[in-house]
């Protein structure tokens, strides 16, 4: 339970020492800063985990049902279309990329805000880290996408080598090995971050849990005693792994968007796309974290542990990322529009103004025109609901973005000479072009099943993660209680912080 003296002003808070009527919380409501009582936090969070609210049970069942639907869709798609024509797998790849985008950057939020030593991130850290478990699913989802990816080079019957443009000059077959290695490395790193961050919490919860969780915590955190050296190593390890994760996630995003989007549209050469994709991923990751945090606060019984401050602070970051997203979109557009090469016009028409014009404008509304006014509203930000509401639109918009980019890219050209492939001698002089501009591709029933399955598997795995691990970073919350209190300054009550480093 939140400490009465810490989390909320005392009963006579309307009067200060001089008998003046005080503004109770300055300009802030009593739920802005919630600082839980440290001593009972471990037991209380474990108790909350045991008493699962109905909405979380619903998430579990819905996730399981949608996952089954996705598996059915995948199997039927594989049986009916096979893997020989990559164009059949555009919506699957879009689904994978969407799940990857949202979940790969989420653990980075925990690392980044820990680097900056911000206090408001404490209730969000574990939520961000639990997304690491979904990264294991990313590996599984990635394998069929790799199988569907056309080879970089093929031999004609006449013995000539046909190649397609890609970042892999030296691989004749598709670069599955290196791509998969990158994805596995990323997942391994994120799971290591989760383990290291949850280590003290699992050790402290050991005596409160039974069954599988007790056995799991014993195995994963059996050697944790909380000595000075262990805390130092944990802190150093989180910093190092966080830095490596940042280096890795940006790189794997570069590989995914280069190989599964840019290289699949003849003539598409765009230096803005990889950083654009990274910005989108950061935006999506933060949006996903805020949605989960809001659900936990609003319906999960964590209102006395998660205040409005995390949403207030994170909404400013989300606003920045939303503006960056739109800036990159404009930069992509204006470069091609100004260049006016035939190939550039073809790509603009294909992705924005002709074939996928409907989905382009819908996406723009969901990722900018709707969330922007919500996020600039100080009232919406401060009350705590603004950022999660904007996040809903952003997540929908990003789904549309992935369909527009990845599904469109996979449908753009056949894997044949004049399509994706050109002879080596003229591969870099012959202007690969998307002419005539193909029409939009629409999902069939199995594609829709797979898209729903992609959403479902994230819900399912995340919910299982929340059941297995402490859903809040207990040691960080307790550390926060040590460094923060709400106190009176003149006539208002404000947050007082200790900054030991």
């Amino acid at each position: 339970m939140a400490s009465e003296t810490q989390a909320h002003p005392p009963a006579d808070h309307g009067h200060d020492a001089h008998g003046h009527d005080a503004h109770e919380h300055g300009h802030f409501g009593p739920e802005m800063w919630v600082i839980p009582e440290a001593s009972g936090l471990v037991a209380e969070v474990n108790e909350k985990q045991r008493t699962t609210p109905g909405i979380f049970r619903m998430v579990l069942y819905a996730g399981a049902a949608l996952t089954i639907l996705g598996i059915v869709g995948f199997v039927l798609k594989a049986m009916t279309a096979g893997f020989s024509d990559h164009r059949a797998w555009g919506f699957y790849v879009a689904t994978f990329a969407f799940v990857f985008t949202l979940t790969a950057s989420a653990p980075l939020a925990a690392c980044a805000f820990r680097f900056t030593k911000s206090h408001w991130r404490r209730p969000l850290s574990r939520i961000a880290e639990i997304f690491s478990l979904v990264s294991i699913v990313n590996i599984l989802l990635f394998i069929p996408a790799l199988i569907a990816l056309p080879d970089i080079g093929v031999m004609t019957e006449g013995g000539e080598q046909m190649v397609r443009r890609s970042i892999w000059f030296q691989e004749l077959v598709n670069p599955s090995g290196w791509l998969l290695a990158g994805m596995v490395g990323l997942s391994f790193c994120s799971v290591a971050i989760l383990w290291l961050a949850a280590l003290p919490d699992m050790a402290q919860s050991r005596h409160l849990v039974t069954g599988f969780r007790a056995s799991l915590y014993g195995k994963l955190a059996g050697g944790w005693y909380g000595t000075k050296k262990q805390w130092q190593v944990q802190k150093g390890g989180l910093a190092i792994l966080g830095a490596l994760y940042f280096m890795m996630v940006v790189f794997v995003q570069f590989l995914v968007v280069s190989d599964f989007a840019m290289a699949m549209i003849p003539g598409w050469k765009d230096s803005i796309l990889p950083p654009f994709y990274t910005v989108i991923s950061f935006q999506g990751g933060l949006a996903a974290i805020l949605l989960v945090a809001y659900a936990m606060r609003r319906w999960g019984g964590y209102r006395d542990m998660i205040g409005q401050a995390p949403f207030w602070a994170a909404s400013k970051v989300l606003l920045g990322l939303t503006l960056l997203h739109t800036y990159h979109l404009f930069a992509f557009f204006i470069t091609y529009w100004y260049g006016r090469l035939e190939v550039e016009q073809a790509i603009l028409n294909y992705l924005m103004f002709d074939s996928y014009i409907g989905i382009f404008w819908a996406q723009l509304f969901f990722t900018f025109f709707i969330p922007f006014p919500i996020l600039v509203s100080n009232h919406a930000r401060r009350e705590g609901w603004g950022a999660p509401l904007a996040a809903i639109f952003i997540v929908i918009g990003l789904m549309l973005w992935h369909i527009r980019i990845f599904a469109a890219a996979f449908a753009a050209a056949p894997a044949e000479l004049g399509g994706l492939y050109y002879l080596p001698s003229n591969a870099f002089s012959f202007p690969a072009m998307l002419l005539p501009v193909p029409g939009a591709t629409f999902p069939d029933l199995w594609d829709i099943f797979m898209i729903l399955g992609g959403v479902g598997i994230v819900l399912l795995v995340f919910r299982i993660g929340m059941m297995l691990l402490p859903p809040l970073s207990l040691w960080e919350m307790k550390e926060g209680s040590m460094y923060q209190r709400v106190d009176t300054l003149i006539r208002g009550r404000y947050l007082v912080l200790t900054k030991p480093e």
Binding site: F169, Q170, A181, S205, K229, Q230, W231, Q234, I240, L255
Partner: protein
């Protein structure tokens, strides 16, 4: 010489810090006692010395190993299957750098995790703990010689320990 573990539990951090000072004054070396806490206290808050670790060596070592391995693999495959594209050299650094970056990062991550597993092993010989530490109490675990046992227990009690247990 037989040694015993003595765990003093404190509900006040200042009292625990005082107990640490008293142990130091009584001639117990810092390596023989450890504060067990449920949160990371700021450096020096309990009067303890700096704990150093060399975790940073692991990612550097792993990165180097990964770089060398990926450089070898990445350069051998195009030499084994040469593919000339628009008069570009068979072996060139820009595409190779993609492979080297992947390899170096994979090595660094792998070695860091190995280093973490090794470095996180508890540096206490007698592994005595108490569940109340998870509720905010501070444990002071002393690895004392047989002749120091009663003296250490007295020091912990005098400093305000709410409970002292031996193993």
């Amino acid at each position: 010489m037989a040694r015993q573990a003595i765990l003093g539990l404190f509900d006040d951090a200042s009292a625990a810090a005082d107990a640490g000072d008293a142990l130091k004054s009584a001639g117990i070396p810092e390596s023989d006692y450890n504060f067990l806490t449920d949160v990371p206290y700021p450096e020096g808050a309990l009067g303890e010395g700096m704990e150093r670790h060399r975790l940073w060596v692991w990612p550097l070592l792993g990165g180097l190993v990964g770089l060398i391995v990926s450089l070898l693999i990445g350069s051998m495959s195009p030499l084994a299957v040469p593919m000339t594209i628009a008069d570009k050299p068979i072996l060139e650094m820009p595409p190779l750098s993609v492979i080297c970056y992947t390899g170096a990062l994979l090595g660094a991550i792998l070695f860091t995790v190995v280093g973490l597993v090794l470095a996180l092993r508890p540096n206490i010989s007698n592994r005595l703990s108490d569940d109340r530490i998870s509720q905010g109490m501070i444990g002071l675990l002393v690895n004392a010689g047989a002749e120091q046992g009663s003296n250490v227990t007295n020091i912990l009690n005098e400093a305000g320990a709410v409970d002292v247990t031996n193993a």
